[in-house]
């Protein structure tokens, strides 16, 4: 190993900052998630599907490189299968918190969980 003292200090600072950032973001994300959630699926920035997270089901949306298979189970969502060079979004696995995105870059598909209460709240205001 070819590390000097400055390297070690720098690495400790980077590690500490990443832990602090993780804790902060996690707190925010958990606090933002309500009991009733929906998942919004967009393709090329256009909403193509709205999923009720309280029902276990499977969905399919069209991505740039092929179909993207989405699975909802126990209020969690994941991309089960998709066609892409590295399958990053299916490897990502389950997501259950609001605003934590599942991003399938090559397919231009993004899935984000939102609080259902906020959405209906907005509807009520408009009506």
């Amino acid at each position: 190993m070819f590390m000097n003292k400055a390297d070690k200090i720098f690495i400790v600072i980077v590690a500490a900052l990443s832990i602090a950032l993780y804790a902060t973001v996690r707190l925010v994300v958990v606090a933002q998630t309500s009991n009733e959630t929906i998942a919004v699926v967009t393709y090329r920035d256009k909403e193509v599907l709205r999923i009720d997270m309280s029902r276990n089901a499977n969905y399919t949306v069209k991505g740039t490189l092929g179909d993207v298979f989405i699975e909802v189970k126990d209020k969690r969502i994941r991309v089960e299968k998709e066609t892409s060079p590295y399958n990053i979004c299916s490897i990502q696995g389950w997501v259950q918190y609001a605003n934590v995105p599942i991003t399938c870059l090559p397919n231009h598909v993004v899935i984000v969980i939102q609080n259902a209460t906020n959405e209906f709240g907005e509807d009520t205001t408009v009506r």
């Binding site: 070819f2 590690a15 900052l17 993780y22 973001v25 994300v29 995105p101 984000v112």
Partner: protein, 169 residues
């Protein structure tokens, strides 16, 4: 600088660039446990250029590498290209600044390069997808940049030590 030295320098920089493109192209085939995380092997060549010649050569190698590798992959001006470019731009800038202002060795600089490469990419993706919450993945990416940075920095140190020993160039 004599013309012989200039040609030698140009040849070596070109060879470093060629190697960095090969690493850039092969890197995604190396499996890592976290999705989206790469070893950053191509950055070793930029770091070597920085120590051998200076910031100008490092910037030239890093930017040309992203451009040519994206052309070869057929993703030029696509999302992947802009992500690579933002990562390389921020990491190269930070590495040059840290080399000038701190006593960090190639290992420390490599960790900084990996860290800020990820920061640059996440910032770009936040702009492209208009989603602030992409920041959720940043701590994981930064955490992973420590072992990958140490690995690539150690490799760069070894190469630089051997180059120094051999008296090249």
């Amino acid at each position: 600088m004599s013309s012989k030295k200039r040609i030698r320098r140009m040849t070596i920089v070109t060879m470093l660039l060629a190697m960095s493109i090969v690493f850039h192209m092969l890197e995604p085939t190396v499996p890592l446990p976290v999705p989206g995380v790469k070893l950053g092997l191509a950055n070793i060549l930029g770091l070597i250029a920085l120590y051998m010649y200076g910031p100008k050569e490092m910037f030239a190698i890093n930017f040309t590498r992203v451009l040519i590798a994206s052309l070869l992959r057929g993703i030029i001006f696509g999302t992947g290209f802009w992500l690579s470019l933002s990562g390389v731009a921020l990491s190269s800038l930070i590495v040059v600044l840290l080399k000038k202002t701190t006593p960090l060795s190639p290992v420390g600089l490599s960790v900084a390069s990996a860290t800020f490469h990820n920061v640059g990419q996440i910032l770009a993706i936040m702009v492209i997808w208009s989603s602030v919450m992409m920041v959720y993945w940043l701590p994981v990416m930064i955490w992973m940049s420590i072992p990958t940075g140490i690995l690539t920095g150690s490799l760069a140190s070894q190469v630089l030590r051997r180059i120094k020993k051999g008296g090249t160039p």
